[in-house]
Amino acid sequence: MRTIRFLLEKEFRQIFRNRAILLMIIVMPTIQLIILPLAANYEVKNINLSVVDHDHSGYAQKLISKVTASGYFKLTGYNVSFKEGMKLIEADEADLILEIPQDFERNLVREDQQQLFIAVNAINGVKANLGGAYLGSIIRDFNKEIRSELLPISRFNGAAGIELTSSNRYNPFMQYKFFMVPGIMAILVTMVGGFLSALNIVKEKEFGTIEQINVTPIRKHHFILGKLIPFWALGNVVFTIGLLVSWLIYGIVPVGNLLVLYFFASVFLLAILGFGLLISTFCDTQQQAMFIMFFFMMIFILMGGLFTPIDSMPEWAKVLSRFNPVSYMIAVMRMVILKGSGFKDILPQLGTMALFALVLNTWAVINYKKRN
């Protein structure tokens, strides 16, 4: 135990003397957390919509006004024929066409079923596709409203309840930000922890200082713990900064318990630091460690469900993501911060993460060789 105290003392001294590291730990996450959610914002406004209305009924009118009231669409053509609508798309004046068929109202009331047609301008694909998605959800909501009007004794009893969900759903900007910030926090903790730990032991190899350590009777697990604990503490500092920034800038206050959040983040940190240390024990130069860590970081982050939901990934990617500690972190961050999930809800992820931490750190200890 005394050995660990000396190791920690030394490691913290070195960290506090290294301006670059301190800057990286404090400034980098803050700036990234401010910039990234804004830049990575897919919100699209002023989507040019042409409506081809064959019905001219009250419900059609209602639907159109609901669409325009959402604030995301600009009517660039109304009451046009489908042909004219297509022309507008060709001229790039419209991104989307919404076609309301004849007998829209009648079919909706009588047969309880009606089809709408949406045509998308694929030139500006992102804009049009997102517009299509917005439009789709507006129509779904419209449908619910109609149904609750038509069936007064229905499950959707509280009209206010519908309003509430729809107001959230129709605010993709808000949703996007809330969705992104916890994910980005997970990434920041991952990056800082992963790179610091991956570069550290290998730096001692490069500088030759590890020889002086290896020639002492130090125990291997003491040495690894002496590296793990300081970075674990730093990781928690980064995490705290992340929580503060997302509160101060985005007004995001975790719905769930902070203790649950910190507990999971702590276990996650042990896992990702163990991974970094493991890489460090395999490499001889900081350059090697950097490249290898970068390789894994890209995979961890891009396949971690930050941008693309894991559910919509192909089967093999889903299987891979089970071995990706970052995907658990992102998921749990969102669960606890946004949904207020409790300790019980995250228990499966916690168990897996603890296993990751145990395996990776044990492996790092084993792979750290005092003699080569």
Partner: protein
């Protein structure tokens, strides 16, 4: 034999096909100052790292301070000090912090750490620099500090790999004073050097050529054996035939 602290038998290190240390066999007695000479690339560092438990021998055996080099490395490490050819203390820690850290790792008590720290700083004349970062020290002082750290825990043997490489003559003299002091305390000294005047300070010398030990005796006997006027001459006669040079 109580008196023998290092004993090797056909100790060999291969890197692939290349034999860096080739069946080296020798003994070092307790309290000796043993000089380990050889041209660049002869295999001195390689041999020394095996003896310190930093490198796994390919074949042969060795016993250091009574412990087996294959199985009891951690026991060996408790009983030796090592100063590597490349300066390897922490440049971003101060003199005192380095002493405290390595002393702590070797298990010195708090009281010992404090008194040792002060004692060393005084002995090295580093009072003014004690709280400076090591990276600010000139090489000669760094080397003296490394030596002091290597003998901090009063090991039975200390291994010094070119401790005076690149150091000015005055500092070299001071360095050898430190070595004699340690030797007087009963620490066995195992030292490599390229300076033949330093070789003369040793009780016994081995001279390595291309991974093999080609001569081993006291400086006086070696000069007799090779009919040479100086150690320089002895070394030249042996090393001339070497094929390796870095």
């Amino acid at each position: 034999m109580e008196n023998v602290v290092i004993k090797t038998d056909k100790l060999t290190k291969r890197f692939g096909d290349f034999i860096a240390a080739n069946e080296i066999t020798f003994e070092v007695k307790k309290g000796e100052i043993f000089g380990f000479l050889g041209a660049n690339g002869a295999g001195k560092t390689t041999a020394m790292r095996m003896l310190c438990g930093l490198s796994m021998p390919s074949s042969g055996t060795a016993t250091i301070a009574g412990f087996n080099v294959y199985k009891q490395t951690e026991d060996i490490k408790r009983n030796i000090g090592y100063m590597s050819q490349k300066f390897s203390l922490y440049e971003d820690l101060t003199v005192l912090e380095n002493i405290r850290f390595f002393g702590g790792i070797y298990g010195l008590s708090n009281r010992e750490l404090k008194s040792k720290g002060e004692e060393l700083v005084e002995q090295l004349g580093l009072q003014k620099e004690a709280k400076k970062l090591v990276q600010a020290l000139p090489l000669g002082w760094k080397q003296k500090l490394s030596f002091s750290v290597a003998v901090l825990h009063q090991p039975k043997i200390v291994f010094l790999d070119e401790p005076t490489g690149g150091v000015d003559p005055v500092t070299r003299r001071q360095f050898w004073d430190l070595i004699y002091e340690a030797s007087a305390k009963g620490i066995t000294i195992f030292v490599t050097t390229h300076y033949m005047d330093e070789a003369e300070y040793c009780d016994r010398l081995s001279i390595m050529v291309d991974g093999k030990i080609e001569a081993l005796d006291s400086p006086a006997n070696l000069k007799k054996q090779f009919k040479a006027a100086s150690m320089d001459d002895v070394f030249y006669q042996l090393a001339r035939g070497a094929k390796r040079s870095d």
